[in-house]
C-alpha cells in the first residue's frame, strides 16, 4: 500500500489559525494522495504536496515566506529519492514561486545543492516558475518563521 504524511511547521500557531493549518495540510495531503492512489511515484507525490503547501500563505514556504534582516525573502527547499539516494536542493533563492520543483528538477541533473543566483539561473534554464520576490510576501505580523 501507500502512505503519506505532510507537515506545516513546528511552531506556535496563533489562536484562531489552527483550522487554517489543518485545512492547508489536508489540501496538500490530497494533492500527494491522488498521485499515490493512481499508482504514481512517491517523489512526484512529495513534490505536489509541498507545492500545495508553498502556495498556501498560511505556511512559511514559497508564498508566505518571511523577511530576513535585509528585508528580503530567501527560501530553501530540498527533495530526496529513497530509491536512488538522489538529492536536489536550492537555498537562499528569492525569485522562485515553487522552490521544491526546482529542487526536484535537480534530481536528474547531478548537482545536490545550488544556492542564490546559481539556483535561480538553473531554474530559468529548466522551466522553473520565476516571480517577483514581493509576490511571496504575506502579512503575518509577529511570525518568526521556522526551518
Amino acid at each position: 500500500g501507500w502512505a503519506i504524511i505532510v507537515h506545516g511547521g513546528a511552531k506556535d500557531i496563533p489562536p484562531g489559525l489552527e483550522d487554517a493549518h489543518r485545512r492547508g495540510c489536508l489540501l496538500a495531503l490530497a494533492a500527494g494522495q491522488a498521485i499515490l492512489e493512481a499508482g504514481g511515484a512517491a517523489i512526484a507525490a512529495v513534490e505536489m504536496a509541498v507545492r500545495a503547501l508553498e502556495e498556501d500563505p498560511t505556511f512559511n514556504a514559497g508564498h508566505g515566506a518571511v523577511l530576513n534582516a535585509a528585508g528580503e525573502v530567501e527560501c530553501d527547499a530540498a527533495i530526496m529519492d529513497g530509491a536512488t539516494l538522489a538529492v536536489g536542493g536550492v537555498a537562499a533563492v528569492k525569485t522562485l514561486r515553487h522552490p521544491i520543483s526546482v529542487a526536484a528538477a535537480l534530481l536528474s541533473r547531478t548537482p545536490v545543492l545550488l544556492v542564490g543566483a546559481g539556483a535561480e539561473a538553473f531554474a530559468g534554464a529548466h522551466g522553473g516558475e520565476l516571480c517577483d520576490p514581493a509576490d511571496l510576501i504575506v502579512a503575518r505580523p509577529g511570525d518568526p518563521g521556522c526551518d
Partner: protein
C-alpha cells in the same frame, strides 16, 4: 517550513522540505531544510523523514540522519523520541514526520504545536496540530 514524506505502491520512499526562513535572520543564512541528513532523508531500505524546527540545532545534531539510524533498529515512534531526546543536548524545538519501509506512519514534536496530516491506503486522511490529539492505537 513545510515538508512531506511519501511511500508509493512500488515501495519507493521520498521526502521533501521547503522553508521561507526566519524573520530577521542574517542575509545568506541557511538552516537545515535543504541539507540531507539534517532536515530530511529518504532511503528505501529504512524509511523517510522530514523535519522542522530550529535549523541550527537540527544541523548541529544532524537530526534527520540520527532519526534514520534509529529507524534501522526501532519503530518510528521510539525513533522520534530518541531523536528528540538527543536534540536536548543542544536545545531547540523540532517536529518530525516519519514513514518507515513497512509503511508505518508516525510523528512527534517538542514544539508547542506541529500541523500534520496523514493518510494510508484504506485509512482516511486526518489532520492535527498536536501529536497528543492523534490516538496512538490507530498506528499499525
Amino acid at each position: 517550513t513545510v515538508g512531506c514524506v511519501a511511500l508509493d505502491r512500488h515501495g519507493n520512499i521520498a521526502a521533501g522540505t521547503s522553508t521561507g526562513g526566519l524573520t530577521g535572520c542574517h542575509s545568506g543564512r541557511v538552516g537545515d531544510s535543504p541539507l540531507p541528513g539534517c532536515g530530511l532523508y529518504a532511503d528505501n531500505v529504512v524509511g523517510g523523514v522530514s523535519l522542522s524546527g530550529d535549523g541550527e540545532s537540527l544541523i548541529r545534531t544532524t537530526l534527520a540522519a540520527r532519526l534514520m539510524h534509529s529507524l534501522e533498529a526501532m519503530p518510528p515512534g521510539a525513533a522520534i523520541q530518541a531523536a528528540l531526546t538527543y536534540l536536548a543536548r543542544v536545545g531547540g524545538e523540532a517536529g518530525l514526520i516519519v514513514i518507515d519501509t513497512e509503511g508505518r506512519v508516525d510523528w512527534g514534536h517538542n514544539s508547542a504545536q506541529f500541523a500534520v496530516a496523514h493518510a494510508r491506503a484504506g485509512q482516511p486522511a486526518r489532520a492535527f496540530v498536536n501529536r497528543a490529539q492523534d490516538a496512538q492505537e490507530d498506528y499499525p
